[in-house]
């Protein structure tokens, strides 16, 4: 569903339902923007939240929007994928830290439900070790530095060097980078050949500037 020659900007929403609605209608309509329902958002509003995101974004851009459900699945790959697929998500995430059986099951079910599978490599030191063990490859790999890690531990860096390494070995896989927030981080992300840059904090902190911020970031994609 995602074109691997294009670059995308993924915006994660974690505020309350009404605020998110306002923010989405402020966004510039572009199919390069992917809308993510953040983990706290899903845990707060459940699958209803995902379907309303889908509705709003679809109305805004006038076609089927791309919605990512940041499930962070850890167990029961089947049940969770079915729930979000029914709610209208186009992709779901699974933790790279989960048992291998769960990840396998997750990828299999994503394919059978027709959505993209994303493996979140937060706190995984060597993503290759996980990827080698899998039966099938996921569609997208997320290199992720957690928010709490970011706040408490400044010296941990985003593993930009791993992007080319993974692409060199597995070729077709898309790479998404989460955890960088400034325009500089995003430039670095695209420069290092990542396909998707995930941002949320600047939007979370100033929902009123949504339109301006999104345009700034969109300029970086070209």
């Amino acid at each position: 569903m995602l074109n691997n020659r294009k670059k995308y900007l993924q915006i994660a929403f974690n505020r309350s339902l009404s605020e998110v609605k306002e923010m989405i209608f402020l966004l510039p309509p572009s199919n390069k923007i992917l809308i993510e329902a953040g983990t706290p958002f899903i845990k707060n509003y459940g699958s209803d939240g995902i379907s309303s995101l889908k509705n709003w974004w679809g109305k805004k851009i006038g076609e089927q929007g791309y919605i990512i459900a940041d499930l962070k699945a850890m167990d029961r790959g089947l049940r969770e994928v079915q729930t979000v697929a029914k709610a209208g998500a186009s992709a779901a995430t699974c933790l790279g830290l989960a048992p291998i059986e769960t990840i396998n099951e997750f990828i299999k079910n994503c394919q059978s439900n027709g959505i993209d599978s994303m493996i979140d490599m937060m706190n995984v030191k060597f993503p290759f070790e996980v990827l080698q063990k899998l039966k099938k490859l996921p569609d997208i790999i997320v290199l992720h530095r957690g928010v709490d890690e970011n706040n408490k531990n400044r010296e941990k860096q985003l593993p930009h060097n791993q992007i080319r390494a993974i692409k060199g070995v597995y070729g077709k896989i898309l790479i998404s980078v989460a955890g960088g927030e400034t325009t500089r981080d995003v430039i670095r992300t695209y420069f290092n050949d990542a396909d998707i840059a995930v941002i949320w904090r600047s939007f979370y902190e100033s929902p009123k500037n949504t339109a301006k911020l999104a345009q700034e970031f969109l300029k970086l994609i070209k």
Binding site: P99, T102, D148, N153
Partner: protein
Amino acid sequence: MQIQKKQFKDKLLDWIIFFVLGAFLINPFLGLIAIFGLIFYFFKNKNALDLQLSKYSKSINAFSNNLARIESIHNSTSVRKIFLQNNQLKTLSLEFPKKNLIFKAPQLRLEKRKRYLQVALNNTINEAIQIISQIPYSKRILIEVGTPMIKEYGIKAISEIKQMAPLGSYIVADNKCADLGSREVEMMANAGANASTCLGVAPIETIDTFIEECEKYKIDSMIDMMNVEDPLSVLKKLKKLPRVVILHRGVDESEFSKEKQIPYYQIKQIKGNYNLLVSVAGGDTLREIQRAIFNDADIVVIWKSVYEASENTASLVNEFMKEIK
């Protein structure tokens, strides 16, 4: 059942009132003695009235519960607004369900040296409510709102189950926090959960903030050690200890690779080194529960046998409770 002996059944309370009135009729002095006897009895068994109180709270909360459900179906607050305009809600004092209880339940915490049975609900909300109504009431049964349910319904699932469960039930929110510890704990605590879970594989910084926040909100912190080979090495790195450590074999794991075992020997290892409770999840047969209890686990989690409500649910739970003692 052992637990229910100390609680009054519905009719028993009526009989007691009848008896006291009768005693008054015969002789006021006799009536006074009966009342003092009753006071003494309640002083000794503080739980005796729990069942009645929970029913009482349910009946006075029924209106606001139904209102919340209507709102969630129609996704609007217009119903509430109409009531607020007419000042109906205030006169009924139903606007803040927690405050109108005469007997406010204190924040429940787990106690050491007691054994608990944790019943995990993972199906739909309706199914969960049916199951809850069948489960015998006991302070040693913990009700868990499973991850799939939280992800499907959101925190609505927690507050709804909390309202449907008997007053003073202990609710565990299995949110499996992996990042943003403070946000999730706040959400779960506000929804009415008494405990929240965090993944042991999450970054150490996340687990630290999670435990800190749990203490702030006075709920129990549970660290889920699924897919962690050596739980002790995680515990060593933490600034503060959690209240509970869960040894967990995932559902997918146990389905697709049968040879993986729950590491029962780790229970004693952990309890020997740290002063905390250990919970075991992933075994669902009577035998596995016996093994867990034999190995000194404090909490045993079951889900498969209570996934769907059936006629046997109550007897099944009773059987498990017998094992746990």
